[in-house]
């Protein structure tokens, strides 16, 4: 069962690729949906029949075996991987179905569906692997398919550049992960995750020599792993690729850049939680980076005009929340937020896709407006998604996000209290950008030109079904599942697969968090809602004035803190400058001129000299004989 749920998506990929010339593209698209549904059903079954406390893994064969280094092809079945597989398969299936409608007119739809299947396969491989090298394969694999899908509309130059950017920035993160794998192997002598978990405690006092520094080995490993996660999960510094990745088709953004791939970083840290837990510094570092990303992305999101970029920055900031939870050792809550985020963010993206679809591919929210009665169903789903995102009580986001905030409040260091304050501020910002999006898209007077307006229509049924299903999950997932993560027996459930912090217990939270702080997020949401209502409705005529007054600040946020520009001016420029310099100055001028060209020039000039000596004039020869004889005789007398 479990095996099927992982490999059916791969089968779907091969089906799409090999039959694309022989079958109608529509049939292929439906078939890939069928494959995915089967895969989901088998993952539901494997989850259903899953026995607690029964760790099992299937080893297929050996992958690399060299000296003491040995890695297998194997998949692991435990609660963590089974639930993650279920989520990935489920969301992926919905997005497959959605894509059938969304990409209907695209001539390459069968390739598109194939790539989606391939992506799903790599993602499943990532989450189900029982050693880190195979995880790395999945990790790179999702990066690759993300590259392919961002650049899917490759007639757009911006899409191609965004795809390369995504891949290369991810590679920089992967570089950290690669270093982590090396360190893990040198320290622990294995890459098997279960074995590492057993060995962690016995290595908690070892030090490792890394680039001339003596570092606590577990801290080093955790930090290197985290660099990898920063790349994949678009944390501050590595976030630049994620907004650009919105060049890809919207279902891709929903599947890869919201629900699954970008959460792989969080997943990896959860998977390696005992390791992270053994290093306090790493935990603090993760917390700080999480905070920074959270507030940075939310602050930028408020100033964006592209509907997808707003949601992309929102994803970034929600990932920040998850990392904050990881940094505060609340792995179960991070995982809870990961799952609930997957549902409401996929919903938001698909809703945005539906809006874009109906607006004839318009993405700028300033050109939209007044859509609420034209596409009411989409409006409804967007509202549900946004409510869940900001964390209105009893929506999914409420349960998971407030849990994180409360745990941050309960954390014993002052750092986590600051993190709590950041988290609360971000709730305000989240409300602001969500309200802004809703108001600009659905409520204000329509800014679109008439052709577009005449063409506005609700999306077809095949696109609405996934939206409806996701809406259900965005509303109820948190309500039904939160007992799994903080309820009575959550310790039994999770303690086998990850490190469980006792603080995350429901009763403990209930008793220790004052009511004011419990209600604070809600209060902040209300304030945010009022502010945004006033700004975007009553004060809308003053906005340009405020903008020009605060031009510097506005531009700073609008241009995403100028981080892209800084990178462009430093790393990219430097690489090309050095490349040109090495090539032209060193390779051509220095090495070639001193080396072969110099040699041949020397030979020819020397032979010219020699040739000149053979002049044929007797007095030249006599002169050289005299000089030579004098030299010889003087040498002779000098020596003897």
């Amino acid at each position: 069962m479990f095996f099927l749920s992982i490999f059916l998506p791969l089968l779907s990929y091969f089906f799409c690729v090999f039959f694309k010339d022989y079958l109608a593209s529509k049939k292929i698209a439906y078939m890939s949906c069928v494959f995915m549904s089967l895969s989901t059903i088998s993952s539901i079954l494997s989850f259903y029949f899953f026995k607690l406390n029964s760790e099992s893994f299937i080893i297929f064969t050996n992958w690399i075996n060299s000296g003491s280094f040995s890695v297998d092809w194997a998949i692991q079945l435990n609660l963590l991987s089974a639930s993650m597989i279920l989520m990935v398969n489920f969301v992926s299936t919905l997005i497959h179905i959605y894509s059938v409608g969304y990409m209907k007119k695209d001539p390459k739809i069968s390739v598109f569906m194939g790539y989606l299947g391939l992506f799903t396969f790599f993602m499943l491989l990532l989450v189900s692997s029982n050693n880190l090298l195979q995880l790395f394969l999945g990790w790179e694999g999702v990066g690759l398919t993300s590259y392919l899908l961002i650049g899917f509309w490759n007639y757009k130059d911006s899409a191609n550049s965004a795809a390369i950017k995504a891949f290369v920035v991810n590679r920089v993160g992967d570089f950290g992960l690669l270093m982590a794998l090396f360190t893990i192997f040198v320290v622990f002598g294995t890459l098997n995750i279960n074995e590492i978990m057993i060995l962690v405690n016995s290595y908690s006092d070892t030090y490792f020599d890394f680039i001339g520094l003596k570092v606590h080995s577990i801290t080093l490993i955790s930090l290197l792993l985290f660099i990898g996660c920063m790349g994949k999960s678009a944390q501050f510094g590595f976030h630049t690729w994620l907004p650009d990745a919105m060049e890809g088709p919207t279902p891709v953004s929903a599947l890869i850049h919201a629900a699954t791939m970008v959460t792989a970083g969080v997943y990896l840290l959860i998977l390696m939680s005992p390791l992270i837990e053994a290093s306090t510094f790493a935990g603090d570092f993760i917390l700080i980076v999480g905070c920074l990303t959270c507030i940075f992305a939310a602050s930028v999101a408020v100033f964006q005009n592209d509907i997808k970029k707003i949601i992309a920055y929102s994803t970034c900031s929600q990932l920040g929340y998850m990392f904050m939870a990881v940094g505060a050792s609340a792995y179960t809550s991070a995982y809870f937020h990961l799952l609930s985020h997957a549902f409401f963010k996929a919903l938001l993206f698909l809703g945005a896709g539906s809006v874009i679809h109906s607006m004839s591919d318009e993405q700028n929210i300033k050109n939209m407006g007044g859509l609420y009665n034209k596409i009411p169903l989409t409006y409804l789903t967007m509202i549900i998604g946004s409510l869940s995102l900001v964390g209105i009580p009893f929506f999914s986001g409420y349960f998971s996000k407030d849990l994180i905030l409360e745990i941050l409040y309960l954390g014993d260091s002052s750092l986590s209290f600051y993190a709590f304050l950041v988290g609360i501020t971000v709730v305000l910002l989240t409300t602001l950008y969500s309200m802004r999006l809703i108001i600009y898209v659905f409520h204000r007077k329509s800014m679109a030109d008439e052709k577009v307006i005449a063409h506005i229509h609700e999306s077809p049924v095949i696109m609405m079904i996934p939206l409806a299903i996701l809406s259900v999950f965005a509303i109820f997932f948190g309500m039904f599942c939160h007992s799994m993560f903080i309820g009575i027996d959550y310790l039994n459930l999770w303690s086998d697969v990850l490190y469980v912090n006792k603080v995350t217990d429901q009763n403990y939270i209930y008793e220790n968090v004052p009511t004011f702080f419990k209600k604070l997020p809600l209060i902040v949401i209300l304030i945010g809602a009022i502010i945004s209502y006033i700004t975007y409705f009553s004060l809308v005529s003053f906005l340009p004035k405020i903008k020009s007054r605060l031009n510097m600040i506005y531009k700073f946020f609008k241009n995403k803190w100028y981080i892209d520009e800084i990178y462009q001016k430093t790393f990219v420029f430097l690489a090309f400058y050095l490349g040109n310099g090495f090539w032209k100055s060193v390779d051509k001028d220095l090495i070639d001129n001193l080396g072969p060209n110099g040699l041949s020039r020397f030979v020819s000039s020397f032979s010219g000299v020699v040739a000149k000596v053979q002049s044929g004039f007797l007095y030249h020869y006599v002169l050289s004989i005299i000089i030579g004889l004098t030299l010889l005789i003087s040498l002779y007398t000098y020596i003897f």
Binding site: N154, V168, L178, V186, G579, F582, S600
Partner: protein, 493 residues
């Protein structure tokens, strides 16, 4: 199992085939008859070379299939052939790539096709001879003979600046080899033998090792090539015809790595330990420096050529880490680079045959014209950037890991090459295959022919097989490598 003198047969079959090729009638540039004989020769030689892995005993570290012939009427100077786990993969790689070259040439027409094919077949014989020699003199003779057909291939069928490049190639390699010849003569003078297995048993004094090491190094560092002896490579590649580039990158560069393992590492262990930091230094420079240069190239072949230097940097890193992972990694990296860069050069050849240019700026949106080809090219690109699952990953991973256990700094610096590789290869792919279709390539849209399709499919399959199950190859090498590693007591890892 019948006991064939397989190595002499492998060397002789191309020579016999050569006669057929030269005897075949040459009526035009297409010369189907000589092509047919070349195909038969290389095909049968490839199949016969599979006899080696099939009958190879993986547990024996020593040379197998040994054949010795007298030479100069001397007891100590013999013409001996044999293979062990280290040379065996390269022999199969040689016959494999030559066969693919012949298949790739098949639909083309070239001036003086008969001689062109003859050069390749001759080259095959010399290559097998080099890899299977277990005597220094026969090794040297084969090693040098390779230059002749290669020089002709570049100098005769090359591009515009072919004479300059051919000279540069010839001079560089010859200069290195002369020093090696001196070392070989010295060894014969001092120890009275040139037999490689017997040299394994000697332990030379350190000061002699140093000089011998440098002499061998000069030859192989030019061949592989290491920075700063690499400048012949881009020129040679740019001017060489497609198949020439394939053989050059695919096999000739591996002679350097093979030589390092066979001579510097096996016979001169103390000097190897002494010079390891030096090698690390050069390799790290090679990886970063050439990757940066590759980033700014406008010529596809030049880009791949520079990337080859970077990839070979990983090989030298792995070899001189002198532990099992490093050597395994180096061998996998060499074989995989042989296949992947070979594949990339074939692919560029396909492009060149259609549009007669290798300028990157000439293209754009080629993927819209040749969709299947663009998929193949993407796979080869992924191999080149070391994507897990392809053979390139296994090599890079193992070498980097072994270096990491020795020196984290070196590993850290050289791993940046992985990022740079992704940048330059993906930018190449984007500029050639993606984007709006360039008007330059609007007119012609020739699909891949069956020969190209066969070549690319085979290469793709091999890339994935090695990537997913590298031990199919590694198991052959383990016992031979173990013998080398035992020379380095501090290196067992």
């Amino acid at each position: 199992m019948l006991n064939l003198p397989i190595l002499p047969i492998l060397i002789c079959i191309p020579l016999i085939g050569l006669i057929f090729i030269l005897l075949s009638s040459e009526n035009d540039d297409f010369s189907i008859q000589s092509k047919r004989s070349a195909l038969w020769t290389s095909g049968s030689n490839f199949l016969l070379s599979l006899y080696l892995p099939y009958n190879f005993d993986k547990d024996i570290p020593h040379f197998q299939f040994v054949n010795s012939f007298g030479w100069f009427n001397s007891d100590n100077l013999k013409f001996s052939l044999g293979v062990d786990g280290i040379s065996m993969p390269f022999i199969v790689l040689s016959t494999f790539l030559i066969l693919l070259c012949i298949i790739f040439i098949y639909p083309q027409s070239k001036k003086n096709m008969r001689m062109y094919l003859a050069s390749f077949i001759l080259l095959e014989s010399f290559l097998i001879g080099t890899f299977s020699s277990i005597d220094l003199f026969s090794f040297y003779i084969f090693f040098e003979s390779i230059l002749i057909p290669m020089y002709l291939i570049i100098g005769f069928w090359g591009g515009e600046r072919r004479i300059y490049s051919a000279y540069k190639f010839f001079l560089y390699t010859l200069l290195g080899s002369v020093l090696m010849l001196i070392a070989i003569i010295f060894l014969y003078q001092e120890y009275g033998t040139t037999s490689i297995p017997r040299l394994f048993d000697f332990s030379l004094p350190f000061y002699i090792q140093i000089w011998l090491w440098l002499a061998f190094f000069a030859s192989f560092a030019v061949k592989i090539p290491m920075w700063p002896f690499h400048t012949w490579l881009p020129d040679a590649h740019v001017e060489a015809p497609t198949e020439g580039s394939v053989i050059l990158a695919g096999i000739l560069l591996k002679l350097g790595g093979y030589g390092f393992i066979r001579f510097n590492l096996s016979i001169l262990p103390d000097a190897s330990i002494f010079f390891t930091p030096f090698i690390y230094f050069l390799s790290v420079i090679a990886i970063i420096y050439t990757s940066l240069i590759a980033l700014v190239q406008d010529d596809m072949k030049k880009l791949i050529a520079y990337s080859s230097v970077a990839h070979m940097g990983f090989v030298t890193l792995g070899i001189f880490s002198s532990n099992m992972q490093g050597l395994h990694g180096a061998i996998i990296q060499m074989v995989s680079h042989g296949i992947i860069s070979g594949a990339l050069f074939f692919a560029i050849g396909s492009i060149y045959n259609r549009y007669k240019t290798k300028e990157i700026n000439f293209f754009g949106g080629l993927g819209n014209r040749m969709s299947r080809f663009s998929v193949f090219f993407l796979i080869f690109t992924l191999g080149a950037i070391g994507f897990p699952g392809t053979s390139g990953f296994v090599g890079e991973y193992l070498t980097l890991m072994s270096v990491f256990s020795k020196s984290t700094t070196v590993a850290f610096l050289s791993a940046t090459g992985v990022i740079l590789a992704a940048s330059y290869m993906l930018i190449l792919y984007k500029r050639v295959f993606l984007g709006v279709t360039n008007p330059n390539i609007e007119k012609k849209s020739e699909k891949l022919n069956i020969y190209e399709l066969v070549t690319y499919s085979i290469l793709t399959i091999v890339i994935f097989i090695i990537g997913l199950k590298p031990n199919l190859l590694l198991d052959y090498t383990s016992s031979s490598l173990n013998r080398i590693i035992q020379l380095y007591p501090i290196s067992i890892f």
